[in-house]
């Protein structure tokens, strides 16, 4: 099957390694992976800031770019949620393209969801040794039902000891532009996440959305924690740490 990798703008700019890890995982699952070269952003900043027009323009662009793919897979529950859940609502009043967006929606998956439920990845290519805790990012969890999938994949890695933290499903405070508009509240929320992770007795925090990971890591470092590593689930599943 032909899988279009939606890299996400954050991964492209900040941590390309996550994109390559996703690529490796999809290939390990037997997929033919294409990376449409002109992809940029899913449109979420505009969509959530009241600029529907911008969001619609980017949605149409994404639709076209992934036209020839059997699936669209993103290493982010937030971007996958945007495409899967919100694109169709953006075009409810436009029957000429609504159906295309519904078809795209049905083909769109968050990475771990896709690996478990569609590609049925058996052998996780990476290796990891030690304990880690998993933060459930909001959009993946509540819009796409991503919760068991990353844990199922981690369970296939013999060296991984998953140590669940308290309130793993509570928002870390990122929220896109929220983190800049309401920095104080956002940092306070991140603080709690850092504390809960520390209480889990591990120094590796893993999640499925880079936005959350930057937020958590940024707060950890400002608190003076130089030790705790914050990793994307794809980096753990495909890496050699």
């Amino acid at each position: 099957m032909r899988v279009g990798l939606f890299v996400t703008c954050l991964v492209d700019l900040m941590r390309p390694g996550i994109g390559f890890a996703a690529l490796r995982l999809l290939e390990a699952a037997g997929c033919e992976v294409v990376v449409p070269a002109t992809q940029t952003c899913c449109g979420q900043p505009g969509y959530n800031s009241g600029d529907r027009q911008a969001a619609r323009a980017l949605a149409l662009k994404t639709l076209k770019e992934f036209d020839g793919c059997d699936y669209l897979v993103a290493p982010s529950g937030s971007c996958a949620g945007m495409i899967r859940v919100h694109y169709p609502t953006l075009f409810m009043d436009d029957p000429t393209v609504l159906e295309s967006f519904q078809r795209l929606s049905e083909r769109t998956y968050e990475l771990t969801d896709f690996l478990v439920n569609v590609a049925r990845l058996e052998n996780v290519p990476g290796s990891f040794s030690g304990s880690l805790t998993y933060h459930d990012s909001c959009a993946g969890l509540r819009e796409l039902g991503v919760q068991a999938q990353p844990r199922a994949l981690l369970a296939k890695m013999p060296g991984v000891r998953l140590s669940e933290m308290r309130e793993s499903t509570t928002c870390c405070g990122f929220g896109g532009t929220f983190s800049v508009k309401f920095g104080d509240i956002s940092a306070a929320m991140a603080d709690k996440k850092c504390e809960h992770a520390a209480q889990a007795g591990t120094d590796v925090i893993v999640g499925g959305d880079l936005g959350c990971l930057l937020n958590i890591e940024g707060r950890l470092r400002r608190r003076g924690d130089e030790k705790t590593r914050v990793l994307h689930i794809a980096e753990v599943l495909a890496g050699d740490g």
Binding site: M14, G19, V35, N48, S49, A57, C171, F182
Partner: protein, 468 residues
Amino acid sequence: MQVSAMHFKRKATESLRNAKLQKALEKLQSKFVDGRAAAIAELPNFNDIRDAAAEIRARAIENLDQYLLRFEEEATARGATVHWAENGDDVNRVVADIAAQHGARRIVKSKSMVSEECGLNDFLESRGLDVLETDLGEYILQLAHEPPSHIVAPVVHKSKEEISDLFVEKHRRARTTQITEMCREAREVLRPGFLSADMGISGANFIVAETGSVLIVTNEGNGRLATTLPRVHVAITGIEKVVPTLEDVSTLLRLLPRSATGQSITNYVSVLTGTRGKDESDGPEHFHIVLLDNGRSSLLGTELQPMLRCIRCGACMNHCPVYQNIGGHAYGWVYPGPMGSVLTPTFVGLENALDLPNASTFCGECAAVCPVKIPLPDLMRQLRNKQTERGLRPWQERVALRLWSWMAQRPGIYALYARLAARALSWAGGRKKRLHRIPGASGWTKGRDMPAPAGRTFRDLYRSRRSS
């Protein structure tokens, strides 16, 4: 109640620094969040009940006019008088007139958030009437001259020590911090108020179209005293509280206390129907029901209509990580949390509550716990759209977004910019690979570092790997 929603950010920051408040909020969270989870777990068919509850509320709102007229007809037939109020001032005037009509001077009140919308207490006091709040939390706030910070637990922001100090000052009795002692003290102070009152004011959790009944759920029993002892009872509520039948109410009651406080049922459920009958031993001689619009009907037929389903359980605020961190006062009006972020701009004007619809990470937990399935993040997003349409967002934000979307639609320029940004930020990140300050994003860097980018974008690396 005064609207101060425009000071959201400043008040939120103050709340974050208020150690006492933070402690109180932690307790609230563990009590209400864990409590709800346990109470919901008791119900094997919770999702079915939730679907049914949402359907009942949606049906009531879709046929609001019919059910309200039916309610008026049934309530009137049982001796009550129904008054229609367009706004808070109307409510205040109607209630003052009712008091004058019946020669009432001493008023006891059971909890009513709608009366907070109207600023009823201040108005009645300005007319020379005695008003005594009898819900323990509301009574404490009346003593302290403070607004509620939560719709179910109004005094959650105060510690028992603060309340103890307040009681010493106002009651002039020996200080105690034993909660049972403090409750007894409040009861002793309130009891003569009930016995001497000639008018009782309550809110309503539901009004029932088929019987003309007003239904209230309480835990302290004060609601029952306030609505049955005085010779006049005035119930004030919003027009959206109507429910077709008692059977429907019984479905909603399976969810309301569970969602609100984690109780399977409240200590009291009072169904108040009509005035005292000939052979009845209690109930008021006069029963007035004041139904307030205050902007509610303007939501009908709009994308915000689902908000009218709200049954005011407060689960959205209890579970909101923003509310959990800042409490209710920062929201600047009667309804805090996600519910307030939709209601306040609607009731007091979008331009008077600019931050509220934006004060959410859209984590979705509010919608996930709402017993009547209100898609709160979607509604907040609608309000954000309206802010943009009406040009209410700051110009810097508009320019930044426009620039972003312009570039994101031009892959060549976007790639170039991303390449430069990745390099520059990576260089600026230095040896520690992180940024302490980013121009234009001080909101982020004030409390956090920004991990620096790796240096090259995915698209550049991918292309060079493919060509090698």
